[in-house]
């Protein structure tokens, strides 16, 4: 047992090192309670649905989400829109399909199986429309940033007037949490920007939290299944380990050596 703790200690040291590496730039992110953290962490369904609303109404005009399909919106562990709702959402987008029998491309309403329609045809078009900056695809954005959800949540609320003497070019904005404090995305959120159907007040803080929750789900659509399975797996392992421990004691009692 003593040895096990030593091993655990080593593991902790290593993780400690890793943590330090990630926290190379010491900025305190804004904190909030995330429902999906912890052993039993689950997504807040309503927050996911609101977050989707913020995404489509605000972010989606520039940011793609190419790995998500409309069917995902109705899947278990996600925003869990009803299938009808998801179909309606999909149908509200125009999808380029084809070629048809005449060899021509055509536009049709979206289906559940379609991927989220991208705001721009390609990266170059996106850059051309955004002053040379490419609005990153948001499918795995949360996992692609060191601070994860806390970083995104903070960034959305991190717009400030630059300190005196801080030089900003045209089309560049000051953000407290951005690496180097310069960001090419203007502040997008303002109080009451969207109208939530569940009457939640759309403060900047609320919208940031909702859309970040949505992004977390987008990056880890199986997070709930993972947490549930993890709990079962670990409980199972602990029980099995205990049984094996006593069997081992029993078997080794035939020899005088301690195990």
């Amino acid at each position: 047992m003593k040895n096990f703790f030593r091993i655990l200690f080593l593991v902790i040291i290593i993780i400690g090192f890793q943590h330090q590496t990630n926290a190379a730039e010491k900025i305190e992110y804004l904190k909030t309670d995330w429902s999906f953290k912890g052993l039993f962490g689950k997504f807040d369904r309503a927050a996911l649905q609101r977050g989707y609303q913020v995404y489509t109404e605000v972010c989606a005009s520039c940011h793609s989400m190419k790995y998500l399909s409309y069917r995902n919106l109705a899947e278990k562990g996600g925003p869990e829109f009803s299938e009808e709702q998801a179909k309606a959402i999909a149908a509200s987008f125009e999808v380029k399909d084809g070629p048809n029998a005449d060899g021509e491309m055509f536009i049709r309403p979206g289906k559940l199986s379609d991927k989220f329609v991208m705001p721009y045809e390609n990266v170059k078009a996106a850059q051309a429309a955004n002053g040379g900056a490419y609005p990153p695809d948001m499918s795995v954005l949360v996992k692609a940033r060191g601070g994860g959800v806390d970083y995104i949540y903070s960034l959305l609320q991190g717009y400030e007037d630059p300190p005196a003497g801080f030089n900003l070019d045209d089309g560049v904005y000051y953000n407290k949490y951005m690496y180097g404090n310069k960001i090419k995305m203007a502040n997008q959120l303002s109080d009451g920007l969207v109208e939530y159907s569940d009457r939640t007040i759309a403060s900047v803080e609320q919208m940031s939290k909702d859309v970040t929750t949505f992004l977390m789900w987008a990056a880890e659509p199986h997070l709930e299944a993972r947490h549930q399975m993890g709990f079962k797996a670990i409980v199972y392992l602990i029980i099995l380990t205990t049984l094996v421990y006593f069997s081992m004691k029993r078997i080794w009692s035939r020899v005088e050596t301690e195990v």
Binding site: N3, F4, I7, L8, L10, V11, I13, I14, I15, F17, Q18, Q20, T21, N22, A24, L39, Y67, N72, P136, S139, V140, K143, A144, R145, G146, G148, Y179, A219, E220, P221, H222, R226, H227, M229, G230, F231, A233, I234, L237, I238, L240, T241, V244, Y245, S247, M248, I251, W252, S253, R254, V255, E256, T257, E258, V259
Partner: protein
């Protein structure tokens, strides 16, 4: 092998065994006399076998869904994470499995260093182990390239560029490795092929590693030669099987915690950004298990010498059986070596730490001192220590330290069980 002659009981068994002695082998493996005083540090051999098998099995499934193409690799990994049934589970086991594998191998290596398991007559086991370790690093590095994220791409660029340090032919070798003039699709496909091949090479070497182990038998915490089989040994089955099993389950709990609750903590966030040859990440860092060697590489100002230092840091281990001049195996009876051992452990951890930090200022200084000490330990301390150190008296057998001293209840119990 000191096994008694084995003959299968059944006729069919005998017929088969005369033609292919698999049953003799199975009998050897179950009866294999193992020192009974092995502690839990000895369970990592079994744990490592588990890690290898896990990597191979999960890797096979991943390879069924992965597409080794620069334009599709990143997408196919996301496809695995989202649409393949339990693909997220398989991938997270595989990704964290690599880290667990290295965690276990480092414990295994440092156990060997502490108890002198590399010394005569076990040099071949040790050298095969070092080759396995080298192959593991190659496999892990190439595996990290496959998702084709930013760290994949730039890690591959940095590491393959090391070969350009070779005088005259360096540049040519790098172009040859890349299959072009930069890391690109040809690099990815060949890395995938090699990443698929290496685990099976490791598997073969593991068989040799165990075979070589079964000739002299296990070392043990006391570090003395023991008679086999004798009162000092227990048959592998069921004693060691259940003990290894218990340790493995403990290990799996830690493993499961990573897989299910912090699956990305050991990876780098930048690897969730698709590879972009035009954008260099702020810090290019390898995975944690390669950091000590990365620190050694960067601590030398000259590129070629840095590469040589890094390679020597690993290869020097192969010469360890001859660098360590002490006849006594176990550090338990070597009071001075024990101290230097822990300094080495600290040194390697420090190297790992500075390897993750930018190579500048104080970090660089620490890296240089730690690198120098690393080589000092193997090239100066160990050879001298063997002559200078006053070792403690070693017992004649494993049972002796127990039998000596006050009457021991446990021994009484043993005598009773023998009478049964």
């Amino acid at each position: 092998m000191s096994d008694h002659e084995y003959t299968p009981k059944s006729k069919v068994g005998k017929w088969f065994n005369d033609r292919l002695p698999l049953l003799t082998l199975a009998n050897h493996l179950t009866d294999y006399p193992t020192p009974k005083n092995l502690n839990y540090w000895w369970t990592f051999g079994g744990i490592l076998t588990f890690c290898l098998i896990t990597q191979i099995v999960t890797g096979l499934v991943l390879a069924m869904h992965y597409i080794a193409h620069a334009d599709m690799a990143f997408d196919s990994v996301e496809h695995i994470m989202r649409d393949v049934n339990y693909g997220w589970l398989i991938r997270y086991i595989h990704a964290n499995g690599a880290s667990m594998f290295f965690l276990a191998v480092y414990i295994h290596i440092f156990r060997s260093l502490f108890y002198g398991s590399y010394k005569s007559p076990r040099e071949i086991i040790w050298i095969i182990g070092i080759i396995i370790y080298l192959l593991m690093m190659a496999a892990a590095f190439m595996g990290y390239v496959l998702p084709w994220g930013q760290m994949s791409f730039w890690g591959a660029t940095v590491i393959t560029n090391l070969f350009s340090a070779i005088p005259l032919v360096g540049e040519g070798i790098v172009t040859w490795l890349w299959g072009g003039y930069s890391v690109d699709n040809p690099t990815l496909t060949r890395f995938f092929t090699l990443h698929y091949l290496i685990p099976f090479l490791i598997l073969g070497l593991v068989v040799l590693h165990i075979w070589a182990l079964h000739v002299p038998g296990n070392n043990n915490p006391v570090g003395i030669d023991i008679k086999k089989p004798s009162k000092d040994t227990v048959p592998f089955h069921p004693y060691i099987v259940i003990k290894d099993g218990f340790a493995l389950l403990m290990f799996m709990i830690v493993f499961a915690f990573f897989v299910f609750y912090t699956p990305n903590i050991l990876g780098h966030a930048d690897n969730y950004i698709e590879a972009d040859p035009l954008v260099t990440p702020a810090h290019i860092v390898p995975e944690w298990y390669l950091l000590p060697f990365y620190a050694i590489l960067r601590s030398v100002p000259d590129k070629l010498l840095g590469v040589i230092a890094m390679l020597s840091a690993i290869l020097i281990l192969a010469a360890l059986p001859w660098l360590d001049t002490s006849k006594i195996r176990s550090a338990v009876f070597r009071p001075l070596y024990r101290q230097f051992y822990w300094i080495l452990v600290a040194d390697v951890l420090i190297l790992g730490y500075v390897g993750a930090m930018p190579a500048e200022g104080l970090y660089l200084l620490i890296a240089r001192v730690a690198t120098a000490y690393y080589f000092l330990h193997f090239l100066v301390v160990l050879p001298i220590l063997g002559f200078k150190e006053k070792t403690l008296p070693i017992p004649l057998s494993i049972t002796e330290p127990i039998l000596g001293g006050s009457p021991n209840l446990a021994t009484v119990k043993n005598k009773e069980s023998l009478n049964k």
